[in-house]
Each structure stands twice: as C-alpha cells, then as structure tokens.
Subunit: 208 residues, 2 copies
DNA sequence: CACGTTACCAGACAATCGTTTGGTAGATAA
DNA sequence: TTATCTACCAAACGATTGTCTGGTAACGTG
C-alpha cells in the first residue's frame, strides 16, 4: 500500500469513490474506464469489484451524497428569519460556495446524469425541480414584499441563475485570484441586483 | 434511399453531420457510437467512412460551423452605433437566440470539447477567451459611460452571464411556452438589470 | 457500348471495454 | 494450530468499439 496515493485516514472504499469523481470529472463518465479509476487508486481494475458492484454504481454514489448536502442548504435558508430578498441572497451565496468547494463533484453532478439508469434519472430530475421550485418561491416572495422589479419572470430568473451557478466549476481555478467566499458573495450580489433592477426594462415588451 | 430519413434538399454529407449532432446531443460523444449515427442516416456504419475520416472528424465539424456563426454575432454588435449598454443588450439577445435556435449544436459545443485533440482544444479555448474578452470590454465600456454599478466586477459578470446562456439548451423545450425571441429578450433585460442594479450592494465587502 | 465515379454493403480487424473467476498472502480469531 | 476473513492479483470472458478492405450495383459521360 502506498500512503501517498491513499488519502489521509478514510476508508479504502471512500478512496475509490473520490478517485472515481476525479476521473469522471477529467474524462467524462463514458470516456473514463474502470482501469483509469483503478490506476488512480493503485490496484488492478478487477480488484475494484471488491468494493463496488458496477461502474454505474460509482457514478450513482456521486449523486446520493450531493443530494444530502443540497438539502441541508435549502433547509438552512428556509429556517432563516429574514426578508425574502435576504433569503435569496443567502441561498445563492451558499449554493455558489458549495459549487466552488466541490468542483469535481458539482460538475459531474450536472453533466453526467444521463448515464444513470431510468430510476435514478427520475430522482435527479425530481431533485432539480425541487431546486427550481424553491428558488421560484423565493423570487415570488421577494416580489410580494415589493423588493423585486415588476416585470420580472421568476421562472426565467430561476433558470438563468441556476445555470450561472452550474457553470462555476468550468471556469474557476483554485489557486490565485479571489477566494471562494468572495466570489460567492459577488454572485449573490449580482442576483440581488438583477432581481431589484429589471423594473423599467420590461416596459413595452410583448409576450411571444 | 428513404426520403423520410434524408433531409429536404441538402447534400448527403450534411445529413451525416446533422445526424451526428443529434446523436452526440442525446448520448454524449463518448457514449455515442458510429453505429448510432449510421442508423439515423440509414446506412451501415462502415459506409460512413465514405463521408468522414474519423469519429472525431464528425465532432470537430460541429465546432467549425459554430465558430463562424458566433463571429458574425460579435461583428454585428461591434458595428452598432449605440451606447455600450445597448450593445450589451443586443449581444446577450443575439447570443441567447443563437443558443435557442441551435439547441443541439450549442449543447454539444460547450459539453464535448474535451474529446477533441490538443490542437482543436486550443482553438476552442482561444475562441472562448474571445467571447469573454468581448463581453468584458462591453461591460467596461458600460462602466465608463456611467451606466453600470460601481462595485461591479466585469470578469464575474462575464462568467455569470455566459454560463447562464450556455445553460439555455438544458432546460428550454421547443413546443409551447414563450417564443425564443421573448426568452432572449427576457435574458437580455436580466443582464441589463444586473449591470445597472448592483450599485449599492457591494458596499462594505472586502476582497478576499 | 465502355469507363470512371458515386454511394454504398458485407465482413473482417485488433483493441478496448466492464465484468467474472479462481486463487492467495497476510492478518485476525478460536 | 487451524479456520476465517480481508484485500487484493492474474487471467480470462464475451461484447462492443472504430476502422479498413474488397466488392458491386447504379449512373453519368464519351
């Protein structure tokens, strides 16, 4: 066993799972081979089947643990005692920070869900609609409290925002530049500014 | 030859290229097989090599034609005689509309560039930096003309916006709902609102 | 009619893939 | 000591992959 390859002090199975996330992030799930994962762990590919059932098994685990963490963020925001606009700011901040703190996991999460089987794909779609519903509710509450522009369409603001956050892992590089907290703050401010600032703009537009 | 499979009146080679885009969009480049493409065209897989040199050849053609169209959009905006904020609105509108009018092509473009060889990957990265530079310049011009919020960081606004547009193909469904033009307009207004509206928000923040 | 070109098909190729099997050195437990 | 369990290795498996080869029916051109 090589302690430089094996992580600090987690179980061997977690090492395998972490290696899989990195490999799937680098090559994409379909192009990545079980052999790639095994090499990163430091065993032969057949040996991986001592820890896993299948290649898809590796992928689906990425989604399970991600779902737990996102649920915690939404619950935290729900329990806040603050105006809707502040809840919105907080949600965007926390969700941005999660993307920045889990770059590989986040990018695998929203890029590779097609390769799950039908049952799990349904679960992912349901989860995504949960984010969307949560954010749309937040935006509508902001409107109801008179803090949002009148012509604002919560559905499109929602898609716009979530897509922007999903893109974080594709350009953010860890070393140098601003901290993850600063960037998450900037993202939160941008969304808040967008929600407050669209007012006059939608004058005279015809719904197509 | 089956006229229901073959397109209206373009060359057979274009049929192959179009089929490839659809298959790559549905399954992802790595998971899609040459056989899948051949089936959609209506020939055996070996026959495709009469039209193409390799599988990667199919992919790289997606990028070539996309680059031409995006260049046209940027040139059109550059030639506008209007305030920077209006140029910005126009750029976001046109670029959104392109994504909505080329759903499969757009999603393949920004998801599958990893599977190109090193030379073409470099070209893609250069092109992407071209968008970013173009948009950042536009944002800085808007600031210089006093139309943008003071605390606004053009780099992050740029990443935020481009990621949001890249996400369009992942949620937009063609039938029903608002027209592509309406959505592109809404996206343009959101960006304009965000640029104008971030002013007071960044008070008291410390760069990390 | 002869001839070259177009647009394929049929079949094979080596390589790679995910997965299974049987085995085994070393640690632990009885 | 013997038996059991853990954590692998070595080797093979059938299937699928991208690609190549040789052939050929249909067709336009001289």
């Amino acid at each position: 066993m090589d302690p430089t390859v094996v992580g600090t002090r987690q179980s061997r199975r977690d090492d395998v799972l972490d290696a899989a996330i990195e490999v799937f992030h680098d090559k994409g799930y379909a192009a990545a081979s079980i052999q790639d994962v095994a090499e990163r762990v430091g065993v032969l590919k057949g040996s991986l089947y001592y820890y896993i059932d299948s290649k898809e098994d590796l992928l689906s685990h990425v989604f399970d643990t991600s779902d737990e963490q996102s649920r915690a963020i939404m619950e935290g925001v729900t329990e806040m005692d603050a105006p809707a606009l502040e809840k919105l700011r907080s949600f965007v901040y926390e969700w941005s920070l999660w993307h920045l703190s889990n770059l590989e996991r986040a990018s695998v999460y929203f890029r590779e869900w097609r390769h799950l089987d039908g049952r799990q794909q349904g679960a992912v779609r349901r989860k995504r609609r949960e984010y969307e519903g949560f954010l749309i509710d937040l935006l509508e509450a902001t409107k109801a409290e008179g803090q949002a522009a009148a012509g604002l369409d919560p559905r499109y603001v929602c898609f716009f925002t979530l897509s922007a956050l999903n893109g974080l892992p594709s350009w953010y590089r860890d070393q140098g530049g601003d901290s993850a907290e600063y960037i998450a703050g900037a993202y939160a401010e941008m969304v808040v500014g967008m929600v407050r600032g669209t007012a006059a703009a939608s004058r005279g537009r015809v719904r197509g």
